[in-house]
């Protein structure tokens, strides 16, 4: 009986001391002066659904999930938004996680339209920014967010209709991404988000 008790205690200690798997930093990296320098997402300046400016400082001290979308998208975006809402529901009480949904339709997705869209999704949370901006800038920034997710790096574009969700940490590093149309891949992504949030609490 005593031996069994010891085994139980030992097993509990082992299971409790299991470390959370640290997520890798994705993207290009190079060694400069003996120090590894990782890809960082570039600067951006957008306007959100309430007409407020959104820049990297909006997410200071926060991790955030990025996706590119447009409100009139008939096929991919509704599927992605459904999955993204699942992620949001799971982590909505965590202030260390924000959301950045960038519209690529600069012609029709005005601030009012983005507000309408956020309302339609029942998102009334300052942590989720639906943004628009200057067209060339939106596409330039996309390259910095999505370069890790493009399967074929010789083919420019495509990110505006491939439904990826990208996880950026508070140091501007990309830590995970998934196919936002695939519920199984999104499940895996949610575990990565959880790991990142846990890793930062340790």
């Amino acid at each position: 009986m005593k031996n069994i008790l010891y085994i139980i205690i030992l097993l509990s200690i082992i299971s409790c001391s299991q470390e959370v798997e640290k997520l890798p930093i994705l993207g290009n990296k190079e060694e400069i002066n003996g120090k590894m320098v990782y890809h960082e997402v570039g600067d951006f300046h957008f306007i959100d659904q309430d007409g407020n400016p959104v820049t990297p400082s909006t997410f200071e001290g926060q991790n955030y999930i990025v996706d590119y979308f447009f409100t009139s998208c008939p096929t991919i975006c509704p599927k992605v938004k459904k999955q993204e809402l699942r992620v949001y529901e799971k982590f909505k009480n965590n202030d260390k996680l924000g959301y950045l949904s960038v519209s690529v339709d600069t012609k029709y997705d005005t601030i009012q339209k983005l507000k309408w869209y956020a309302d339609k999704l029942n998102i009334h949370d300052k942590k989720w920014k639906f943004v628009t901006g200057e067209k060339d800038h939106i596409y330039k920034v996309a390259e910095s967010f999505f370069h890790v997710a493009m399967d074929d790096k010789t083919a420019p574009g495509g990110f505006n209709h491939d439904g990826r969700l990208i996880l950026v940490d508070k140091n501007k590093h990309i830590r995970s991404f998934c196919d936002g149309t695939d519920p199984v891949d999104v499940d895996r992504f949610m575990k990565d988000v959880e790991n990142l949030l846990t890793e930062e609490n340790e």
């Binding site: 009139s72 690529v104 339709d105 012609k107 596409y139 996309a142 420019p156 574009g157 495509g158 505006n160």
Partner: protein
């Protein structure tokens, strides 16, 4: 008694017969899928169009010694790209997916018309991209 059983049985059989009228969503779903197939194929090209347009714009901005002929060609190609891209945004903005409440015949007619529109948009996008790539290649050789 036998007649009564046969009568009740015949009612059950007639009720279980599948209706020849399909549910509306099924009746136009194939047509809708065809429209969206074209859309999904060319939609990712919008990013490439923006990229090509930017390359042409930059070329024009950084070369002050261009001939009138080249300038016209550059501007025409940029306009063609812009028009092709905008065509897709305009189409998506105007497109309304039929609902189950709609008349099936009308829904199919609407979708057949949308099929023609999206096909034309697809052609415009591909043609404008081809022309832009060709021009960029020509300009690089000069």
């Amino acid at each position: 008694m036998r007649i009564l059983i046969l009568f009740v049985l015949s009612i059950f059989i007639s009720c279980a017969q599948p209706t020849t009228q399909k549910a509306p969503s099924v009746a136009w779903q194939n047509q809708l899928d065809k429209v969206m197939e074209v859309h999904d194929e060319v939609m990712p090209f919008t990013a490439e169009i923006v990229n090509l347009n930017k390359q042409l714009k930059n070329f024009q901005a950084t070369h002050t010694d261009l001939s009138k002929e080249i300038i016209v060609k550059l501007e025409d190609t940029q306009n063609q790209l812009t028009k092709a891209e905008e065509g897709m945004w305009d189409w998506m903005h105007g497109f309304v997916q039929p609902s189950d409440a709609d008349d099936v015949k009308k829904a199919n007619l609407y979708l057949a018309n949308e099929q023609k529109k999206i096909q034309a948009i697809s052609e415009n996008m591909k043609t404008s991209m081809k022309a832009a790539k060709q021009l960029i290649s020509e300009l690089k050789q000069k």
